[in-house]
Homo-oligomer: 414 residues x 2
């Protein structure tokens, strides 16, 4: 009798424990995810704000600046000279490092670190777009580390310190001015690696004057807008339940980009449309559109191979990859596609939403096929093999992609 | 002949100079405003995150903490004890200051400052809602200042330093966890003053566990949701041109609040709806919904008088003030009302939008008249005089309000 009570008691304990575990599992599966949203960057936005660059560098503790820039445009436009003036007038010492290329490479980072070390830099200022900013961030990390900066990108080391970074933004697209990420390509291996940090690589300030983007050519402008759309969609297409807030905010920003981009292309000096697009680029990537979401990033992964092997513009590559990815998902994992089609494009089906997205891409002058992207002799087998070398055997969250699936998606780009 | 050339030349110079000035004026009037968006708070959101409080205090440099809280709820629920445990386990010294009331008063702030000074506090932690956070911010400023902290609220002094503030949020409403503002009432004068800072009063971190809001009573929950709506609308109703981004984001957050609030009231332990509402409260007031907008805040000003004189709950007061303000605007300055009605409420006219807003307020149990608010013997003359003593002869931006206009709006609340 006594023994039976004990048995029943133990059984009850088991049921309660198992039930509790099950409930916890359920909770994790069906409830909103925990998240951290930390976007400490001071965004200074509007006409003439680049005049505040010197005082901002000082506010954030800089006195010896490694000033990083890219190609000739910032030189020819006079921006670089005026930034140098402003910095000099604030009594700040600096050294220039120019020549960062689109899809920045590790070799530039090594050179920049060398220049910064010679000066004894305590601050890195990026004057340019995403590539310049990403390279500047890598230099900022490398300047606080005795080993090879690539260790961070390789996953061998975790960043525990970095010089503060400031930004004067000239190309709205990558959103790097408000993100803790940096993408660098290793020349010898063709590996394009995205490093993500919660804090260390987030710029302390970003000076954003939309007038500085007036001279951005139509193709770069449109590629930038496409990149912004992709940044939101990589977060939006998630299986995380209860993403009401990031969904609503992301849809709002997407609709605003869709509306502003043709205006900018029709009138490159439309201040308000340029300003709208510029600010959308930041919101698309500072994390506000994906709080709590398990993100995907497989389209970015598939595009990075195109950039690394064929040197195509990242945003233009995404204009080819994303519709293909969406088309594949429409038949294999529609889940969130009807909501996206309805709320972003006012379309009644995923297919119609994708069609409108492609029509918009064509309207803004983007390619939507590998051929239009200008890639000749596309080596689909090699690219498909290599994307799994870089990203792993299976990657992506919305629908994990193995070699067969990515192959089908690459085929949809032809 | 020579003289004529000179005359024509001078005339031309005048035309160019005048035209340029005119163009600049025009530019300022018709173009998007410059802005600074700086929301450096580290938002740590989700189940169980209050366990990170100690480590967050240390990350932001705290070792001796003035722990500020309000009434008995945080004591009874065991939250205060568990926060004390967490802090103690992190090896942090602290002193308690409890008893901050809703619509916090200057006397509490003085007492808190005294307690903090005795400890030699280097950090202020607020455990509670907007009132507790606002009081804690005032203490943080006062603890770095030799004079009377009210000098800052009086406009006699500008804050140039403050102790870092951290927050464990228990009431989603005021958005103070993500704002640089603090509202304190001076007991002797009935003056309720809102102090705004770009940086100093922004919390370094905010720990936000939606489960801590499960026990919030329906009335407080609904009043909080109303406050959030008001925070967005005070920014939304602006004459600033080209507010595409903040409009779209604000509308998205408003629609999400409208959707989530009845769910929370129907099931107070609906984690996802509570979480959605909590995060909306932060976005409503951290500035993201008003980047570049000239803001209004006259409804808040008119409500503050009701709170100061009749002790009504701020959010409930706003449920009475805002529909009256909107009704007045519908006939005197509709401007942005049709867009608001359409995009937020799916309504075809401002009147219909206002009717839906009022129906929603009633649905969530909010009053929409002075009588329903529980104010007996409403002294409309006195309140109307006093609001102009506090706010100035004319206040508000969307439509500046003089005594006659505010009187008409107060009458619409009867």
């Amino acid at each position: 009798m006594h023994e039976n009570f004990l048995r029943i008691f133990l059984l009850l304990v088991q049921v309660v424990v198992a039930g509790n575990c099950y409930f916890r599992k359920l909770k994790e599966y069906f409830f909103m995810n925990n998240f951290e949203f930390w976007s400490p960057t001071d965004f200074v936005f509007g006409r003439g704000v680049e005049a505040q660059t010197g005082e901002l560098i000082k506010r954030f503790g800089g006195s010896k600046v490694l000033l990083v820039y890219g190609g000739g445009h910032v030189v020819r436009s006079g921006l670089l000279a005026s930034i140098q003036d402003v910095i000099r007038q604030s009594g700040i010492d600096y050294v220039l490092y120019g020549g960062v290329q689109p899809n920045p490479i590790d070799l530039s980072v090594y050179e920049g670190i060398r220049a910064g070390k010679e000066l004894g830099a305590d601050f890195v200022l990026a004057v340019g777009g995403g590539s310049v900013i990403d390279a500047a961030k890598a230099m900022a990390a490398g300047l606080c580390y005795d080993g090879d900066f690539w260790d961070f990108y390789d996953g061998k080391k975790t960043i525990e310190a970095a010089l503060p970074v400031g930004v004067v933004l000239t190309i709205p697209a990558a959103g790097s001015e408000g993100s803790g990420n940096s993408v660098i390509t290793q020349v010898t291996t063709h590996r394009k690696v995205s490093l993500r940090t919660a804090y260390w690589l987030r710029p302390r300030f970003a000076v954003m004057n939309p007038e500085l983007t007036f001279s951005l050519p139509p193709f770069q402008t449109a590629a930038g807008a496409t990149d912004m759309m992709a940044h939101i969609m990589e977060r939006y297409f998630t299986n995380t339940p209860h993403t009401e807030v990031p969904d609503a905010v992301g849809e709002a920003v997407m609709r605003t980009i869709i509306d502003a981009t043709p205006k900018v292309l029709a009138n490159p000096e439309d201040y308000d449309a340029r300003a709208t697009l510029m600010w959308c680029g930041t919101l698309a990537h500072n994390g506000i559109c994906g709080t709590g979401n398990e993100e995907d990033w497989s389209s970015h992964g598939m595009e990075h191979e195109l950039s690394a092997f064929y040197g195509v513009t990242h945003g233009a590559g995404l204009a080819v990859v994303f519709p293909a990815w969406l088309t594949y998902m429409a038949s294999h994992h529609p889940a969130k596609l009807p909501q996206w089609a309805k709320r972003v494009w006012g379309a009644d089906s995923p297919e119609e939403g994708i069609a409108r997205f492609k029509a918009w891409l064509r309207q803004i002058g983007m390619p939507t096929t590998i051929e239009e992207l200008g890639i000749k002799n596309f080596d689909i087998e090699r690219i498909n093999k290599h994307v799994h070398v870089t990203r792993g055997e299976v990657f992506g969250n919305y629908l994990p992609l193995d070699e067969q699936r990515t192959m089908e998606i690459y085929k949809l780009m032809l």
